[in-house]
């Protein structure tokens, strides 16, 4: 049984120009212990699909799906209180801008122990010890000292490590990483990706990587979904996607990688504007 199973997910936003469908009939399923990458450009609806799953979209969004289950439990029909027991505990998420996602007014230690208190009921000494353990796990040196640090006193890479520590604090079954390394340098990106892959292998959680970087996909994923304008263009395991891309859009994306430049020019996606897939304008 898949861990997360979504069928025909549609997310629409009410705009002044009428209903805008950011995600249009997408199926996503993740098995336990699997690393799934969702690739697409800005506006392809890759983040929105995951935010809809987490229930983090504003009230202007309408989310419909034929099915949305996590471990067989229906996420759509669930009450908010019930959902809160799953979200943040069994399904955790980390975001693109680590410095902006942490609360600037509270110390790292406070924010970590808040999660531990809310979901696991840990308080005081126990919560503090677990926080230190978590920070060490994500590779922060002087973990005990860093508990008293505010987000602005740390670098972007360190903040992302803290975000990861918060996300894995309750041993989630599924971790959703929304462009976790886009705001970071290559060397730091490598460290964070290695950390995520190591944690995934050690804990056996499933991992959804949302990214627009084909390099990140190649370094982490087992299976890949390629999205464009709210539609799924292709779904394949990582090797066949790179070896033998089926959809024209995937081919265009791959050939736009600077290392694949032919001669003096880079092919762009609009150069090879593909014969429109069914339903795509």
């Amino acid at each position: 049984m898949p861990l997360l199973d979504i069928k025909n997910l549609t997310v629409g936003f009410d705009t002044s120009a009428g209903l805008f469908k950011a995600v249009d009939g997408i199926d996503i399923s993740v098995d336990p212990r699997e690393v799934l990458a969702i690739v697409g450009e800005s506006g392809s609806g890759k983040s929105v699909a995951m935010l809809a799953t987490m229930g983090l979209l504003p009230s202007t969004a309408t989310v419909t799906a034929d099915r949305m289950t996590f471990e067989g439990r229906d996420l759509l029909g669930m009450s908010a209180a019930e959902k809160r027991k799953i979200i943040g505990k069994d399904i955790a998420m980390i975001f693109q801008e680590p410095v902006a996602s942490l609360n600037p007014c509270f110390t790292v230690g406070f924010q970590l122990s808040e999660v531990l208190g809310k979901h696991l009921g840990l308080t005081g000494r126990v919560a503090r010890d677990r926080s230190i353990e978590l920070l060490q796990l994500v590779g922060i040196r002087d973990a005990a000292d860093k508990l008293g640090a505010y987000p602005h006193q740390m670098s972007g890479g360190q903040c992302q490590r803290v975000m990861i520590a918060m996300a894995i604090s309750c041993n989630p079954k599924l971790l959703i990483a929304d462009e976790p390394t886009t705001a970071l340098d290559v060397t730091i990106q490598k460290q964070i990706l290695d950390l995520l892959v190591r944690l995934q292998a050690e804990t056996g959680m499933a991992l959804i990587m949302i990214t627009h970087d084909m390099g990140v996909v190649a370094e982490t994923a087992d299976r890949v979904i390629v999205q464009y304008k709210g539609h799924k263009m292709e779904e394949a395991d990582v090797l066949s996607l790179f070896e033998n891309p089926k959809s024209n859009y995937t081919r265009a994306l791959l050939s736009a990688l600077p290392e694949n430049a032919v001669g003096d020019r880079l092919p762009t996606v609009s150069d090879m504007l593909f014969e429109a897939a069914p339903g795509v304008r």
């Binding site: 450009e41 800005s42 972007g156 340098d185 290559v186 060397t187 730091i188 990106q189 490598k190 990706l193 292998a201 627009h212 970087d213 084909m214 390099g215 990140v216 996909v217 190649a218 370094e219 087992d222 990582v238 090797l239 790179f242 070896e243 265009a252 994306l253 791959l254 736009a256 990688l257 600077p258 290392e259 430049a261 003096d264 020019r265 880079l266 092919p267 762009t268 996606v269 609009s270």
Partner: protein
């Protein structure tokens, strides 16, 4: 040999954070003695991680920040940020990383493009308008974009506007501070192509600052690697990519994600072994 477009001799920049009561002032050596020359029509890529001083270097050679020590010669003329003449400002321009932050949200695109001319030349308003219109089409935008505001454009279009603004004065060289790192892959390819086309057309010289080695490999003639304010390697692109000399360059190469099939196959094999063992 002709005069190089840009010559930099032993350039240094320290930032001093003011001390407080009983607290000594702290000095950060952001750039520690950089020297290089750049010939016309070439592209120099400056590579390094955040905090290595590459943006500080960019600010100094565009005459925004004054160096603590050292000399900058543009077309053989000594330049100083303390008093930038109109002629000097016409020779050097910059494009910033974030096209969402580098355009004034209350200024129409036409005015954005005409402003450098109004400040640095004696052209009439009608001439400025014509030039701005011509540049707009040159960077792949439409004449009807002239009276629109920055928020009406996508990231890639905004970066085109920023490039157009930098080119309005017909500069000798252009500093590009991570011009594509905020853009999507497909848009990144369009902007890189545009930069190459413009370089061919105007004989431009680029100083291209980036931390993305795959982009650097595509666009650069020479590569300069910076690490904690020092230049650790400065050679031709072919030499650096064939055999990186410095330890830090090798670290950078190792950190860059690889998207070739062999690499993925090796990774999957490793993972299987790990799962089985």
């Amino acid at each position: 040999m002709s005069t190089p477009v840009l010559e930099v001799r032993n350039l240094k920049r320290d930032y001093v954070s003011s001390g407080g009561f009983l607290r000594p002032a702290k000095v950060v050596h952001a750039v520690k003695g950089v020297s290089f020359t750049l010939e016309k029509g070439r592209t120099l890529a400056v590579v390094g991680e955040s905090g290595c001083g590459k943006s500080t270097l960019a600010r100094m050679i565009t005459l925004i920040d004054e160096p603590t020590a050292g000399e900058i010669l543009i077309d053989g003329i000594p330049a100083s940020a303390a008093h930038v003449t109109k002629e000097l400002r016409q020779k050097v321009q910059i494009v910033f990383q974030n096209p969402y932050g580098s355009l004034n949200p209350r200024q129409k695109i036409g005015d954005v493009l005409a402003e450098p001319l109004a400040l640095n030349t004696d052209l009439s308003a009608a001439d400025r308008r014509d030039k701005a219109m011509a540049m707009l089409t040159k960077v792949g935008l439409q004449p009807e974009h002239f009276n629109r505001y920055p928020h009406m454009f996508s990231g890639g279009q905004r970066q085109r506007i920023a490039i157009a603004r930098a080119l309005m004065l017909n500069p000798s060289f252009l500093v590009l501070d991570e011009p594509v790192s905020a853009l999507d892959l497909s848009v990144q390819a369009q902007i890189l192509n545009l930069l190459k086309d413009l370089q061919d057309e105007f004989g431009l010289t680029y100083v291209f600052i980036s931390h993305d080695l795959s982009v650097v490999r595509y666009i650069a003639d020479e590569v300069m690697v910076m690490y904690f304010g020092d230049v650790v390697e400065h050679r031709s692109r072919e030499a650096v990519f064939a055999a990186p000399e410095h330890e830090y360059t090798r670290t950078l190469f190792a950190a860059t994600p690889q998207a070739d099939v062999e690499h993925i196959r090796a990774r999957i094999a490793r993972k299987r072994e790990l799962a089985a063992g």
